[in-house]
Symmetry: C2
Subunit: 982 residues, 2 copies
């Protein structure tokens, strides 16, 4: 062990010794109930989950009965009694849950109060002052709900302004306490506040990087200015990784502005658990050198480890954090050392509850001859009291991170703290609960360090979705901008037919315009005539004779190749959709991702399905169950997922050994032509997939009726779907197969908002489900059924959120919503809105830009469940909010339509979630999330009742529909002898 | 070790010593090629299988090219070279397969000649005489093909008559050799023949026990008589266990007839590997005591071990043989001892190649003071020469079992011998190939004997079919006779409707007559009217509201209960079918078995399907894929599998959570009523399954069109099926679901007979597939496509076989075939036959009884593949035989219909089998077996093209059709925390 390590350990031992000399109280025993709950949570993962969830929902429950119900639902799943920990903890013996409810709510609230200084600055102030007496200073943070609207952003901003004014004023009367209010260079501000960027602007979008940054800076500037003017320290807190890059840019740009350039007391946070944190610190140091005036960096480990890993895995992105806790600890010390070496340029504040880390910072500083008063340590209010006391006693400056705020928004903060304290990797847990040895507690984290990988480990037998683009990366945004320009330069794109791999032209040309810009012709579509449709059918029928004998492996390879080409051409494909159907960037990107997923999923699944299943296990017989192709498939596709749905149907048909005639929607033939060209490039043999743009009532009808057609894959309107079903049921002369229809139609999808819903999530989820791509998804939310108790609060927030969104041409990255697909759709939707306005309460109708088919996001309130507005599909950005007196009624209303496609529920009641899962008649039910954006494999998609027939796309039964199961039985007994088997 | 065991071992050692003193030749080395082939077979199971199969097919292949092709297909699967054993064995170096073919064929034929004394008695005689010179006598057996027709039975009988006459005549000139032609009581016949019962009558049926026995005795009597008159020994050989009981009865009854009662030289065989063999010996001893004159018993181990175990497992019957070889050996000694103790009444002949066994017999005899000349040992010609010589040298009488016959029929015999010699359990293999020690070879088999169970071991995760009845068991036949009488006594059975578990009567009565007996009214069916159909739909719709929430487990239990009731009432259910639809006993039994299987399979499968599948594996999200019910199901059933198909559709619908209105066929409403009563008894709640007898065009149409109907399950004609599909595609006002049709229609099923087919199997398989239940199965064979080279031979045997079958009222157990279902069907079929006679070559048309709807089995030859007769479904006992010049053409013809239901192939070419599996467009393909009789799980059943839509009954995808897959996705991330998973 080298000299430094010995010194660090010695220092650590000193801190530990000082801690032990205090009263035996520890974080886990100072409150008996809290302590026993924490102990149970650490022992029992399921209890921990339920406890955290219960804690989370509790503030939003009002009556004792409801507390009691939730208590039972979370902790007495078997219908029996609560775990003894509640009784023991409360010292209440075995009370009935009803009687315990009050006591438990009180205790949980008490738990929150341990970590939150007060519900208001008024309440917090005495707490802060008391801490000062113990030589601990503070930084105040205002806890808030998620900022969903500009109104909420403004409210939050106002609160900070008030807070700074009020604290600054009060502080005038405070005596200076040198240990905490002076450093090696002089006085420090007595008041210190921490502010969060996302709270100040509700529409931050990576896509609209510069625009978003500009607005955020505009919102922060008054707070920074006021802080500077009042001599207050202003920290910009760090949040999730998704906004890290922007936070760093906002902070540096802002404090580099002339008016702020010379103020020392601005601070930023760096999270050492981030793989790129050391690089950030180096860059910030360079920046600080240039700026001249130092600023502060609070070095933390990072508090969002669980969600950062989960969200990165969900997106398929690199995991931004170290997944080995020791790496974070080691990196913290590396960063700390670097910061101390550059203390001339940057002032460090070391935030940690880990004694090893604290000791290392002290020792490194001493080695650099940095005086004690130049160091600052920060810890969270309500945690690690013995450590705080030891640090203070050693003469260091200690600052508590002191949240102020109401309990509902405070719950997120509380859960984060509970998680921290019960995590297997927590230093505090190691010390106070698990009783680790001093050597373990103080060991060098860099010793024998195992390095984790940012890439997630993929299991061979599982499917992984293609990640979406990360628009936070500058090159991604640049590529997108370039692709838009390049694609635009090719307009109008010529779209011929493709039959037998040969381009075929037609006399009839359809001009497709950009729905964001009526005057721009995107494509000139050659619309097929009947003769050409017949040629396509003949080509497909001829190609089938050989294609069906091509091995499944070879077919799957071609489909995988197609996915590779889509991946390569991703930006171009996105750009085409943006212009042709008016999809905002991110929605278009999702469509390409889904198309790639369909290809890969179906290729993979076909490789599985080609393996014969064994039927029965009888000696003397080998019986196999094998899937075979059917023949020519007519694919008739919609425009709303112009690449994904078309590619999904076409590849499903082809990979299963069928040949295809595909007829795209008139509105998205340019995108479809792109698919056809990629299919050709991938190397599908001539005639296997043929391209037949045209009018549905003409060539669509013709291929549906055709005697060669064996399977019809259609996604579109109910009217057309039912018509196809009927036409397909007539047998044509010479027809060889009973036609099979795989048909997806509309929806009138409802989201139920339970009384105990997390409204932060509910409002956000409903808003995007209703208005994403202008509501033009069969999965879109068009009915929101809200329980009476939360109705007003939900509707207020929803309307405010709706007011805040940007409706812009789809190629503008700032667009939350673009236009609807064409004039016909626009007229229909506007007509329906006008009609609804006559009889329903209009809560909101947006104003929209001119020059394109911009239908206004519209919200109606108190809509009766049986009204036309609540029953008829709009396929546009129109939401009917329906009031329900309870869950029974909500379910009744939800199930009252002829559709059964998607549905949603926001609730934190386990029993209600279980009930709705069982009773809500929908093909795809989403709980506590938005109801659009189904992903291949994760959310096999499709509806029933009048929403469709056939099995879900991107699911385990989908491909089988394009095939016939065949049983082949061989008698293996010959002359009384059969080979041994199994 | 006791005294006896020591003596047996000593004697065994003496025999072994005598064997060793001979030349080193052993069974495995005396012929170099044979020896090396046997050695490879013992080392390599796959080579052994292919070798036996190649040996089996070889005699039926004529050209060198064909031999070469088969050689490559069997042994050079990778397209490469043959295994070196062929070259080494032949000493040919590495010749091309083409050149080797001749040599190999010659060697295989040589192998056969090792075990067969000659192709004719002429050829055999010198062989037999030569053996006599070595003091070995014989019993001659004539090898034959399977006896498929009465003509073949007659030929076989004639051959025996000739053989006995001819040998007896020649033997007059033979000098007596005392060691083999005298026993302790005097002279023995010089000539000894062995005859097989099944060769003498082609229509032996367990069901018609007494009738079959009578005919068999009539056929045996002349041979026994001639033998007696000529002083020849006549043995009745023992064959498969299926005919064992009858063989014993035939033998004892015959030799007890006055004319035979005093003749000593009749013999029967007992197989010691049978679990009931010792009981048989005791019974035969009692019989012998009563008869007075002794007869002979040849005690063997038994030569059909593989097929006995396989066939018992296939049928689900108790395994008749000991499955532990040591048990057979021990039982042999027990039986031998008993026989020796009763030598006064029965003369034993010990047939074995096991030295331990032989030694035991000798020692036991000595202990009983039985003189050496009273013992006879028997061994197979061509095997175990050193043992034979030792036995002869020791002064015992040795008789060779000496087959005479052509090589094609001889192959079954050859394969049995090869199997015996390469079996892991063979004593000869132990001695000559595996080099076991003397102690192992001679050890007491009864020592530490592990007893095997006759019941097969069932694996929990597998489905096992309900066994069919074993009509060889007297009580089964008696139960059946009783049930027929009891059911008949209840005619006419009243069949009301059942709605909501209440019987409902109608004004309109339909009289259903017995198709075997037009004058007998089986049931009076109340035919529903439209009002009643509406009531049934309402009942089902109401019941659905609660039934859908009944747990899958509970639903499965009810369906299992139904299966239990069917099992209990089996005989009654069979009897009802026999009378109502004219099904012969065994066919009716099969239908009940299938009904039970459907219930158990669907119940079992539903228990699996109720478990949600996990969709995707993304942290922070739990996504489940769940199957839910749809609603009211209309079940419209056919009469041809009156219980099975109806029960299958009804239980599939109900177990998946749907409610049902079932409309049975008019012709089988009595059977359907029986099902309804059982459903009621099982305890299904009111309204879940409703019974609606009536006319299809009236109430069938009504329920298809009904708005409550969500799913339609139909099996029946193409015309009605397509009509339903069309009707279902219209959406009715108030209809909530797109209707789903699960429709099975007709077939025009072909069987292809390849040049190298095993005609014994092909003729038998085609005959039953065509005429079983009068061809009234959608799976029935109605086209037989025969390759030119075997056409004449196949057709001759098929026509002769057809001539031999019995067409009788279905309640007569002798009936191979009964009537067709009703007058309408009869008229239609007769019309089609008359029509076909005008333009096609009639090969055979049976004469049929009067009084019922007996349609004659009819065969047309050289029918063009595109003729109406070859294209139109007959649904009666009419077969079109089509000639094809090669397999290409055969497949082209086979695939030329609009149907794709079942198909068959008889071939022994691995490449042709693989090709046909791939190219023959049928839902169920059967290789080397009949094409009807699909069993649940083993043969998931159903067709495509114009034969049906929907997935196979009794298969893994069937139940899913009655359900909707639903995806339920829960976001489990709350406040940045999600429970750990996986």
């Amino acid at each position: 062990m080298n000299d430094i390590q010995s010194q660090i350990i010695a220092r650590g031992e000193e801190i530990l010794k000082r801690m032990e000399s205090q009263s035996k109280a520890s974080i886990f025993s100072k409150d008996f109930w809290y302590g026993s709950i924490m102990e149970w949570s650490m022992k029992n993962e399921k209890f921990k989950t339920n406890m955290f969830r219960f804690v989370d929902v509790l503030p939003s429950i009002n009556s004792g009965d409801e507390v009691s119900r939730h208590l039972k639902e979370y902790f007495a799943e078997d219908g029996g009694s609560l775990p003894p920990v509640f009784n023991v903890g409360l010292g209440l013996g075995s009370l009935a849950p009803g009687l315990m409810a009050g006591a438990i709510k009180k205790n949980v609230m008490g738990m929150a109060k341990m970590f939150i200084t007060g519900e208001s600055p008024d309440e917090a102030l005495p707490v802060l002052k008391k801490a000062r007496k113990n030589k601990m200073t503070f930084t105040v943070d205002i806890l808030g709900e998620a900022t969903l609207s500009e109104k909420e952003a403004q409210d939050y901003s106002n609160k900070y302004i008030e807070l700074v004014n009020w604290l600054a004023k009060d502080a005038q009367s405070w005596d200076e306490i040198p240990q905490i209010e002076r450093d090696h260079e002089g006085s420090l501000p007595k008041v210190n506040v921490s502010v969060k960027m996302t709270a100040l602007y509700s529409q931050i979008k990576d896509l609209a990087w510069e625009e978003s940054k500009k607005i955020v800076k505009d919102r922060l500037r008054p707070i920074f200015k006021l802080g500077m003017d009042k001599g207050v320290f202003v920290n910009l807190d760090m949040e999730h990784y998704a906004v890290k890059h922007m936070t760093v840019e906002v902070f540096t740009e802002l404090i580099n502005e002339p008016e702020f350039k010379n103020y020392k007391f601005f601070g930023l946070v760096i999270q050492a658990y981030l793989r790129d944190s050391f690089d950030d610190i180096k860059n910030l140091t360079e920046f600080a050198k240039k700026r001249g005036t130092p600023f502060w960096i609070r070095l933390v480990k990072g508090a969002y480890w669980d969600s950062e890993t989960i969200e990165a895995e969900q997106r398929g992105w690199a995991i931004p954090v170290y997944t080995n806790k020791m790496e974070s600890d080691a990196n913290y010390e590396t960063c700390a050392k670097y910061l101390l070496e550059n203390i001339k340029f940057i002032r460090p504040a070391f935030a940690s509850h880990n004694v090893r880390t604290l000791a290392a910072c002290m020792v490194y500083a001493e080695k650099l001859n940095i005086p004690k008063e130049a160091l600052e340590f920060q810890m969270l209010y309500g945690m690690a009291e013995p450590i705080k006391k030891a640090i203070v006693d050693m003469g260091y400056r200690l600052r508590e991170y002191a949240p102020v705020g109401e309990l509902i928004p405070g719950m997120a903060y509380l859960v984060r703290r509970l998680l921290e304290n019960t995590s297997n990797e927590s230093w505090l847990r190691g010390k106070f609960a698990d009783g680790k040895t001093t050597a373990e507690l103080l060991k060098d984290p860099a010793q024998n360090l195992a390095h984790s990988s940012p890439d997630r480990y993929k299991k061979a037998h599982r499917f992984y979705n293609e990640p979406l683009l990360d628009f936070a990366v500058p090159s991604v945004r640049a590529n997108m901008t370039k692709a838009l320009a390049e694609v635009k330069a090719t307009f109008p794109i010529q779209v011929p037919l493709m039959i037998n791999n040969k381009e075929v032209r037609s006399e009839k040309i359809f001009d497709r315009v950009n729905p964001s810009n009526e005057s721009q012709v995107v494509g000139e579509i050659h619309m097929a005539n009947i003769d050409q449709a017949e040629q396509a059918m003949q080509a497909a029928q001829t190609a089938y004779k050989t294609w069906k004998n091509v091995s499944a492996e070879k077919r799957a390879e071609l489909v995988d190749k197609l996915a590779d080409i889509m991946t390569r051409d991703r930006y171009k494909l996105i750009a085409t959709q943006v212009f042709e159907v008016g999809k905002p960037w991110n929605e278009a990107d999702g469509d390409i991702g889904e198309a790639i997923d369909f290809c890969r999923y179906y290729a993979r699944h076909m490789r599985e399905l080609q393996k014969p299943l064994r039927a029965g296990f009888t000696p003397g017989e080998v019986s196999q169950y094998i899937y075979k192709s059917r023949g020519v498939t007519a694919v008739i596709a919609p425009w709303n997922f112009p690449l994904a749905i078309l590619a999904g149907m076409v590849t499903a048909a082809a990979v299963t050994g069928n040949t295809v005639v595909m007829k795209p929607a008139e509105q998205s033939s340019v995108v479809a032509w792109g698919l056809m060209k990629m299919i050709q490039e991938a190397g599908f043999p001539a005639g296997v997939i043929n391209f037949l743009p045209g009018f549905g009532e003409e060539v669509g009808e013709y291929i549906v009726n055709h005697k060669f057609t064996t399977t019809i894959a259609f996604t579109g309107s109910k009217a057309v779907g039912l018509h196809i079903l009927n036409r397909a049921s007539y047998v044509q002369p010479g027809q060889s197969h009973v036609k099979r229809c795989i048909i997806e139609m509309g929806g009138k999808n409802a989201v139920i908002i339970d009384n105990d819903a997390d409204l932060d999530e509910a409002v956000d989820g409903v808003l995007y489900s209703a208005f994403g791509f202008s509501g033009q998804k069969c999965s879109a939310a068009s009915r929101v059924i809200v329980l009476d108790e939360v109705y007003d609060r939900f509707v207020d927030r929803l309307v405010e959120a709706a007011k805040s969104i940007d409706i812009l041409p789809a190629d503008n990255p700032k667009a939350y919503m673009g236009p609807v697909v064409d004039k016909e759709a626009y007229d229909r939707i506007l007509g329906m809105i006008a009609d609804a306005e006559k009889s329903h309460k209009l809560l909101f109708k947006a104003s929209v830009p001119a020059g394109g088919f911009f239908a206004p996001p519209t919200i109606f309130g108190d809509v009766p469940g049986d009204s036309k507005l609540a029953q008829q599909e709009v396929f546009g950005p129109v939401v009917a909010v329906i009031r329900a007196k309870n869950l029974d009624q909500a379910l009744e209303i939800a199930n009252s339509t002829e559709y059964a496609l998607t549905g949603g529920l926001f609730s934190r009641s386990p029993a209600n979630i279980a009930r709705v899962k069982n009773e809500f008649e929908v093909g795809n039910l989403y709980v506590n999330r938005g109801i659009t954006g189904a992903m291949v494999d994760r959310h096999p998609f499709g509806g029933y009742k009048m929403s469709g027939v056939g099995s879900k796309t991107g699911g385990p039964d989908y491909l089988k529909q394009y095939m016939e199961p065949v049983a082949v039985t061989e008698n293996t007994l010959r002359r009384g002898f059969a080979p041994l088997e199994e």
